[in-house]
């Protein structure tokens, strides 16, 4: 790999003070509010349009001792949610003014129950997120988003105007366009950015105002498009499964010779893939709710083929030679989909490595050994 991208230094600087990053600190110093959202089905634009900074609630991007969280949520709650809770209990999210989640999985909704009971923030909201993508489901979800908007307005005594919503959509869509451009660069034989670096970029994006992130992304895409840098690996890999925002994990895979060219993660493409319809004839709340429900589906959604087909398309578009599925223990949606997805991938001739992990786990020990063996298997296939 050639020299590092300069923009990545900015990214690293932002991430170095996670979760209370410098951009968040600067925002709060202006007397403005910050709300954490959990899960990609929460329409951030509504929060943004209220003049509040939405940030994504994540755990630490390294494996934590979850002693405090374990006292509040049973050990069969996935370690992603317990890691988030651990940071809350350690007062690292004390700067928050509110919390919003969706009924996207048992762990997420129960975290909301715990959050509410112990009053971690005075504003707590949970949206019913349908699993189906039918017209009826869209209407249900539109009402939920509308209700969320109303609650936010009432609680924080703000008005969210249609103009503000359209502006928020514009900002967020720009972010998505830039991420599409960045990912497009990864389709080349020797992409200018590694999988681990892309994760660093996405991590920063959840901890800063979106316009600032867009500016950073503009610079990054421009710099990466210059053709000065080439990241090489022996095999083109996709990383998919449960929430993962740990660049070290991906870096370990890439150091062994894998090249992560695309992901299918809620901390990756499932977060940003679809754009919101900006047709001025469409009510912005309706446009938003439709986008969020129709976005690249989480394994929770029905029918599962919607997700499987998109995964297979990514495999084709990015010329993926092997898939590493990392499944956080007790991530039940992924666990149920995995036997079905694996069979579909293998039918297409794409080998799958399944790794049962804890959130934030480093790519060392058994993980390293298994990845090595997987890469050897891919090597063997090439030799045949």
């Amino acid at each position: 790999m050639t020299d590092t991208l300069e923009t990545l230094q900015e990214v690293r600087e932002i991430n170095s003070s996670f979760p209370y990053t410098a951009p968040i600190r600067a925002w709060k110093e202006q007397g403005k509010k910050v709300i954490a959202f959990q899960c990609t089905y929460v329409p951030e634009e509504i929060i943004y349009a209220a003049g509040i900074m939405p940030i994504r609630l994540t755990g630490d991007s390294r494996e934590l001792d979850l002693e405090e969280a374990n006292a509040y949520m049973y050990i069969n709650t996935c370690s992603h949610v317990r890691s988030c809770l651990e940071l809350v209990l350690r007062k690292q999210y004390d700067f928050l003014d509110g919390f919003v989640s969706g009924t996207t999985c048992d762990s997420s909704r129960r975290l909301t129950d715990v959050w509410k009971y112990y009053n971690f923030t005075s504003f707590v909201h949970i949206l019913t997120v349908p699993r189906k993508m039918t017209e009826r489901a869209h209407e249900l979800y539109r009402r939920e988003v509308q209700d969320f908007k109303r609650r936010l307005e009432e609680f924080f005594d703000v008005e969210i105007t249609p103009q503000a919503l359209r502006q928020a959509i514009k900002v967020y869509n720009r972010s998505r366009e830039l991420l599409h451009q960045l990912y497009q660069l990864r389709k080349s034989d020797a992409p200018p950015i590694s999988g681990a670096e892309v994760q660093e970029v996405l991590n920063a994006g959840w901890s800063m105002p979106k316009e600032q992130f867009n500016q950073l992304l503009e610079r990054l895409v421009e710099e990466a498009s210059s053709g000065q840098r080439a990241v090489r690996g022996n095999f083109r890999l996709m990383l998919n499964g449960s929430p993962l925002n740990n660049p070290e994990f991906t870096k370990a895979i890439e150091e062994l010779g894998g090249l992560v060219v695309v992901d299918e993660l809620c901390t990756g493409v499932r977060y940003w893939w679809e754009l919101v319809d900006t047709d001025s004839e469409i009510d912005p709340v309706a446009a938003l709710s439709r986008r969020y429900l129709n976005n690249f589906p989480c394994p929770r959604m029905f029918p599962p083929e919607e997700r499987f087909n998109r995964v297979l398309q990514l495999v084709k578009d990015y010329r993926v030679e092997g898939v590493i599925s990392e499944i956080v223990r007790y991530c039940v949606h992924c666990a149920h989909d995995q036997p079905l997805l694996r069979r579909r991938l293998e039918k297409q001739g794409v080998p799958v490595l399944e790794l049962g992990v804890e959130y934030g786990m480093p790519g060392t020990g058994q993980i390293r050994t298994r990845v090595q063996a997987f890469l050897e298997l891919l090597e063997g296939r090439v030799r045949k």
């Binding site: 006292a71 509040y72 949520m73 049973y74 069969n76 709650t77 996935c78 009924t103 999985c105 048992d106 762990s107 909704r109 129960r110 975290l111 909301t112 129950d113 715990v114 509410k116 009971y117 112990y118 949970i126 019913t128 349908p130 699993r131 189906k132 009826r136 489901a137 249900l140 009402r143 394994p299 929770r300 029905f302 029918p303 599962p304 499944i327 223990r329 007790y330 039940v332 949606h333 666990a335 149920h336 989909d337 995995q338 036997p339 079905l340 694996r342 069979r343 399944e354 049962g356």
Partner: protein, 424 residues
């Protein structure tokens, strides 16, 4: 992967076991309701076993799908978890099924109830269904499990979706989902729904609900006229057979037994020592634990908030689908398991602890049940702060005895009873 071979011998063994239970309980005058319960269960499984040869449609479904729809359409339903639960009680063959699920690729963290039913399907222990229906009313496992089953059985499936919050809009959504389920079943069977018959089924469902509430009131008596195991029996009957005359008969039999004792001021056991609030379910491999608690320690389960509460909703015969939808929001299991804790299980548990004069709580913490277990801490704190009672958390697996052997559970229970003695 599609499972072709079927060997329902295990289902036959299950029916035989239940038939033996009927004979045994019939010889004991004080166990009439148990005999009724086992008889109707044996009949339930017999109907599933013989559905094909009798030319009936068989629809397998996961827990909390309202069975009234199937009975109204003369479809034989089979609740899949019921087979696993009873099989681990009577046939004790869960090990093979869990291994089959593991070999298929289902992670061990998936709830054992669902691994068991996938394993049973892979091994061909269940008759081949004409369709599978599942829903999100309990947890992520129930919401996801159907996809695998449909693929394994090679049959059509229907996913029934219920919104999280209990609002009029959500009830309408769920009623429309039920309507769509009916269309799906009409297409499957080539028969139209008989709405008059549906009204009759719903009327029996109303009777069941009223009996449930009547029993709930009778259980407030001190000493408790209640037998600990009955809540599991009632739960099974309601989940598998709501809307049938047999279910009404079962509830009436229990009501009569409870009423007789309550009116005489008698408890089910001679000496009541501890009044217990029971949260969730004891392991299916050792329900006898509940009898042991009664007989050896005088510990009576006075309320089970996950199962024994009935909200104030009513069944309106002029709006059968809306009534069924509404019922699904407030009926046992559905309300406490899929809905906000604050207005659901937390509220219900504290209210029951106070109203039923509970002295302690036993929480059966099934390692596979992420969503109920995630409430343990808030429930423990709320029960201590608002009802002044301690909680014992018993770690276990619903189906796998190797996780927590019976003796270990008994030891922990005995320590808890000592603690309750010290508090007196």
């Amino acid at each position: 992967m599609k499972v072709e071979a079927r060997d329902t011998t295990k289902l036959g063994e299950l029916i035989q076991g239940l038939e033996l239970g009927v004979q045994f309980e019939k010889s004991r005058p004080d166990r009439r309701s148990d005999a009724v319960c086992y008889e109707l269960l044996a009949d339930y499984f017999r109907k599933a076993q013989k559905a094909k040869e009798e030319g009936k449609y068989l629809v397998c479904h996961t827990t909390t799908i309202p069975p009234e729809v199937f009975y109204a359409m003369d479809i034989v339903p089979l609740q899949l978890e019921s087979v696993g639960t009873l099989a681990s009680q009577i046939v004790r063959n869960f090990g093979d099924a869990l291994s089959a699920a593991r070999d298929f690729g289902l992670a061990p963290e998936v709830c054992s109830a669902h691994r068991l039913l996938v394993g049973q399907t892979i091994l061909g222990w269940l008759p081949r269904p004409d369709a599978i229906v599942w829903s999100n009313q309990v947890c992520d496992n129930t919401a996801k499990g159907g996809n695998l089953l449909v693929e394994l059985c090679g049959c059509p499936g229907f996913f029934l979706e219920r919104p999280y919050h209990y609002t009029d809009g959500a009830v309408q959504y769920f009623a429309q989902e039920l309507e769509e389920l009916i269309h799906f079943l009409e297409k499957l069977t080539g028969r139209k729904m008989d709405w008059d018959r549906f009204a009759e089924v719903m009327d029996r469902s109303r009777c069941l609900m009223e009996l449930h509430r009547e029993i709930r009131q009778l259980r407030k008596a001190v000493p408790s006229p209640w037998r600990n195991l009955w809540y599991i029996h009632m739960m099974g009957t309601e989940l598998y057979m709501a809307g049938t005359p047999e279910a009404v008969l079962h509830f009436e039999t229990i009501r009569d037994e409870v009423k007789k004792r309550a009116e005489k001021g008698e408890g089910y056991i001679p000496e009541e020592r501890y009044r217990i609030l029971t949260l969730f379910l004891p392991p299916a491999y050792t329900w006898t634990l509940l009898g042991w608690m009664e007989r050896k320690h005088g510990a009576v389960s006075v309320a089970e908030p996950y199962f024994s509460y009935r909200d104030g909703g009513e069944i309106d015969p002029t709006k059968p689908l809306e009534s069924l939808a509404r019922k699904s929001f407030y009926c046992p299991i559905c309300r406490p398991m899929y809905g906000p804790a604050e207005e659901g299980i937390l509220h219900d548990a504290v209210r029951d602890a106070v109203e039923y004069k509970a002295e302690g709580t036993i929480y059966f913490a099934h390692i596979g049940c992420r969503q109920t277990d995630a409430c343990i801490r808030i429930l423990r704190d709320a029960l201590l702060e608002k009802a002044g009672i301690p909680t014992l958390i018993l770690d276990m697996d619903l189906y796998d005895p190797t996780y927590a052997p019976e003796d270990q559970l008994k030891n922990k229970l005995e320590e808890f009873f000592e603690l309750l003695d010290e508090r007196k």
